[in-house]
Amino acid sequence: MLDWKRAIDDRLAGLQIDAARRLEIVEELSQHLQDRYDELRAGGAPDEAARATAVSELDGRNLVRGLADIARPAMEGAELGLRRGSWLADLSGDLRYAIRMLRKNPGFAAVVILTLALGIGANTAIFSVVNTVLLRPLPYKADDQLVVILKYGTGPISPANFVDYRAQATSFGAMGAAEYWTPNLTDVDQPEHVMALRLTADVLPLLGVEPALGRVFTAGEDAPGRERVAVISDGLWRRRFGADPQVIGRSIRLDGAPFMVIGVMPPSFAFAPFWATKAELWAPLALGPRAASRGGQSLRVFARLAPGVGLERARAEVDAITAQLERQFPGTNRGVRVVPLREKVVGEIRPALLVLLGAVGFVLLMACANVAHMLLARAAARQKEVAVRAALGATRARMVRQFLAESLLLALCGAGAGLLFATWSIRGLIALSPAEIPRVNAVALDARVLAFLLVTAVVAGVLFGLAPALQGAALDASGALKENGRGSTDGRRRSRLRDALVASEFALAVVLLVGAGLMIRSFAGLRAIDAGFDPRGVLTTMVSVAGSSEAEPGRRRAFYDELVQRVQALPGVTSASMINHLPLAGDIWTWPFAVQGRPPARPGESPTAVYRAVMPGYFRTLGIPLARGRDIAASDTAETPGVVVVNDALAARTWPGEDAIGKRVSFDNVDGSPRWLTVVGVARNARQEEWTRVPDPEAYLAVMQTRDYLEGPQAHSSYLTLVVRTGGDPAHLAPAVRDTVRSLDSRVVLADTQTMEDAVAGATAQPRFYLLLLGAFGAVALILAAVGIYGVISYSVSRRTHEIGVRLSLGAQRGDVVRLVVGQGMRVAGGGAAVGVIGALATSRAMSTILYGVGPADPATFAVALIVLGGVALAASCIPARRATRIDPTESLRSE
């Protein structure tokens, strides 16, 4: 046949017809012209004339006009990668084509989208936590200028020191102090224990947040006598005052004293951000005579840097003032540090969150590697399609773009599904998260999280799509068409790429499993810690008499006595007692003490002990064994000589090698005339505030001999925590205990009712949270690695059917085949694992802040992770290996 193509092509050039159709038209018209030519020749026309006549009958304009209405929009041409059109049209064409390709293979698409949804969703969820906790500014104006001034960067300082800093420092535009306060909201239907803060009048203004209703404190309202005003949170306003705007000016009673509500803060407001985070009410802090006190460190100082003043200058100035105060008042003023507020809020949690973000990022990388591997296998299966398109003239770049469009489409679908998964997991994260993570309740999807989701999806799409796209498009078109897809040229490069992908999955899996393993070891270490008490079967509840008639100095003793006796008489109760601050769940006070017979310590150098006040029976109730001596007894009263039980640590540190029983210490009036307490018992060390911290020296005084607890008007001495031991489920005891308290006085407030086991769980909530997440990531990593190796080995077996058939027919044993296949899998896994070990060594160091009792390079953890992964690789390779042994040699050779 003569070549008519050019003549026809020239006439079709102006038309937008989809490429396949165009080819058909050219063929059909060529056919016609050839027939016409043959006819003319048969009629005797010379070659040239026949040819010219046939071509002339194409009559360009008529043909073009006639075809114009069958010409379709450019889209379809773009799909085949032929036409150079507008970028947007190409993109939408690519996407439409991609949608069609995925629809053809819904199972494949579903698996890929699901894999990606898990990866992208988990990343989005963790990022939303990071976003809220680490990235979002604190809910105050220009929060980068806010600092806190704290002892050793963590603890409160004394009122007199605060007054000195405020008077002398020039680096700050404003400075104020806050003190923890938990008054009872009384004279209401249901009295309630409220978390609150006392603030000097400067604090709220320096935060720069306007109240939603009313006003905040004005200068001078923190003067004694004028401090009976309160600003409340949005939450308290809604919960207790029905969101009534008339609440402004209303009088409420806190611990029985009248306060006027002057303002309601907006819902977004929370203060303080790093401690007392649940405060719902703020009242002025009137220091009064305490302004001169250099003991009683209870103030946390907040300040805003003056305009143009940097942190370093402020630090230098505070250091200078601190040094000068230390000279003037030795021992009262050490290690005071200026810390940026943001750093204070998120500094401790940052490393842990970044570890989680890194780990979940690895999970996504693994998911990408898996998807890339699936796409590679699919690209191989699509050789013919690629070859056809290449033959039709699609450029390589054009086809890479088409492949990428498909991966991006998959990634975006994955992102959509991932968004659902993220929404769901964020709820779970909030529910599971420990209280130590600041602002975690505010975690939500916002614009930044959505942007992250989108960027992650696009990056993931390019990441897992690029290799298959390049590989797919690199195909030798004529080769593939000829080979008809059997693809002996499937080739080393392609399989090497697949191996590399799976190996990298294994490397990532090692890192993730080591992370999870370290967390498991760490948590096991935490669980193994001896609390020093027996938390099982113990119910605890805070009992606050403030604002009730039981707060009267003359009535507390009888009330506490009566309460303990009645609770002890409840069915199922084996013992009951009270303590000022419950271990692990309550406050902790560290007080200096003097030792009889020793020279007075220099200022600031007195030994200190954790200060507890207990009712008789506390040690029995909590299950703290007494090493020596006796418990505080009912006979130890204000009228009898003072007694104290100390813990092992105090006894060992104060009287090493001696018997502590009979020794005397004093907790009050350390400098003047001490009130001596005789050590009557030595208790085993029990955990105090932090679960992992080795117990400090601790002293248990008798509530009945401690005037503060019996008569002190202050809020901090008007509550004790009831501890009740039962043989049954302690939680079931709660209603009976509540009724008992109510029957004595319905205005006494109960708060924080929980079992001791819950308190212990709360103390280890943070590591448990990390364990849970890293464990989940590790499990997902294991699954992905298994699927990856299984996929690559099965694929390889399916490609090597012929080779295996030849081997078998040449006398290879089934065992040889298994060894061959499994060996291949293990080589890939081993290579990856080796890289993974190096990676894990490099990255696990980032975890050191969240580990307990195990080093980041713990050999046992590494060994177990490798063994587990090795087992998974073995198992995953064995399935395709067994399949390979069932290959029938004759059958496989015939298929050739």
């Binding site: 056919q31 016609h32 009559d59 008529n62 043909l63 006639g66």
Partner: protein, 117 residues
């Protein structure tokens, strides 16, 4: 008839009747484009000719409307060709076009008095 064989009339008549011609020729059996053009030429005694440029756009248009359907068919020892066959809806259209054409032709005849000539 020969008097009025001006180019214009030719074109107008062809336009109006072309669809009917193609559908009619495909009624009996599937045919390829060249076959159709030869048949029209032969059966009209050379009065009507369909060259490439007018035939194929017409075929494609009919195909697009779903009246005919083209399919590549390879026969032994031949290049493959695209054969068109009449579809069910094409057959319906053909019947209705035939009626219309018949009425039209009769009307023309009555007015132009060709019957008496």
């Amino acid at each position: 008839m020969r008097y009025i064989k001006s180019r214009m009339l030719d074109r107008e008549l062809k336009k109006g009747s072309a669809e009917l011609l193609i559908l009619s020729l495909l009624e009996a059996q599937p045919r390829h484009g060249y076959d159709l053009s030869k048949l029209i030429d032969a059966r009209s005694g050379g009065v009507l000719t369909f060259r490439v440029a007018s035939l194929y756009p017409l075929l494609y248009r009919l195909e697009k409307r779903g009246w005919i359907q083209g399919r590549w068919i390879e026969k032994a020892g031949q290049r493959r060709r695209r054969y068109y066959k009449l579809t069910t809806s094409g057959a319906t259209v053909l019947a209705s076009q035939r009626d219309t054409w018949k009425e039209f032709a009769e009307a023309i005849n009555r007015i132009a008095g060709l019957e008496q000539a």
